[in-house]
Amino acid sequence: MGVKMKTTSKGEEHNSHPKGEEHNSHPPYVKIYVGLLVLTVLSVVISAIVHREYAPPFVFTISTIKGLLIALYYMHLKYEGRIIISLALIPLVIFAIILFIFMPDILSTVKQ
């Protein structure tokens, strides 16, 4: 299997896909990974120190930072055009609509 991969990895397709060059300068993936790990540990530590009821603002902020790192760099949204960006953002608007416009009706009944 290893031999086979060698032959196919020689870059024969280089000519048919000339746009490969633009990806040569890429974000520091491994550094971002380390950052993500640190943030994960941080959120666990916070949840251990702070009482469960007061932890959500902190841990969800950390989640959002982590999500943004992945979306912007790993999913390359930082480098995308308008079409892709809007395809990523519209769902978030809908999420917000569901959350906030449903809220007064759903929160008015206390669940048991």
């Binding site: 490969g20 469960r52 932890a55 790993y74």
Partner: protein
């Protein structure tokens, strides 16, 4: 564009491949992002509903201590590692290093299997202790959300595995990119599920 319309009256023949408007984005990528947008709203719908249930359920914190945060923490690391290998595979594919791309995809798929395996262990322990979906608002939300997410991890693993086999035959870097995008999306959702059910 109007000026172009006048100029093109002259054209009598056209080279094959030149007959379309230039777009600048591969069509596979647009198609996949449209699909992904739908997926974001599906999981977003579940998560939003669960947040609403959580906010109107006074006993959430008493129940959430029973989840296994250790396994979930390991699973978070597993998914993040999978994301790293997925993005490295993407990078390798676009620099036509197909062997490396396959290797990294394999590692990502492995992460997916580990995640699903650990999830399975977690579920069976919880059900053994009597925490079944119909128990209360917390547990039904927990099983529904993590269950749907787990299915997405499984689907992502299958997609990654399928693409790993596919690029042996066809060298389409967009396939690797799309598989990696799916993995990252599932990863981001987990980043919210982890604090939602395990930490707070």
């Amino acid at each position: 564009m109007k000026a172009e319309g006048v100029r093109e009256v002259e054209i009598q023949e056209i080279q094959i491949g030149q007959e379309y408007e230039k777009v600048g984005i591969p069509f596979q990528k647009i198609g996949f992002w449209i699909f992904l947008a739908g997926e974001i709203v599906i999981l977003g719908g579940i998560v939003a509903s669960v947040i609403l249930f959580r906010l109107s359920y006074p006993h959430w914190f008493e129940e959430s201590v029973h989840t296994n945060a250790t396994i979930a923490f390991i699973n978070t690391l597993v998914l993040l590692t999978g994301s790293l290998t997925a993005v490295l595979s993407h990078q390798s594919a676009f620099s036509y290093n197909w062997g490396k791309a396959q290797l990294f995809l394999g590692l990502t798929a492995l992460c997916g299997l580990v995640f699903v395996g650990l999830k399975f262990v977690e579920y069976s322990r919880e059900i053994h202790h009597g925490f079944v979906p119909s128990r209360n608002v917390f547990w039904m939300s927990y099983y529904t959300t993590t269950g749907l997410h787990g299915l997405h991890v499984l689907a992502g693993t299958l997609i990654i595995f399928g693409v790993m086999l596919y690029i042996k035959k066809k060298k389409v870097p967009e396939a690797v990119e799309n598989a990696a995008l799916y993995w990252h999306f599932v990863d981001i959702v987990w980043l919210y599920i982890f604090p939602l059910f395990y930490l707070t």
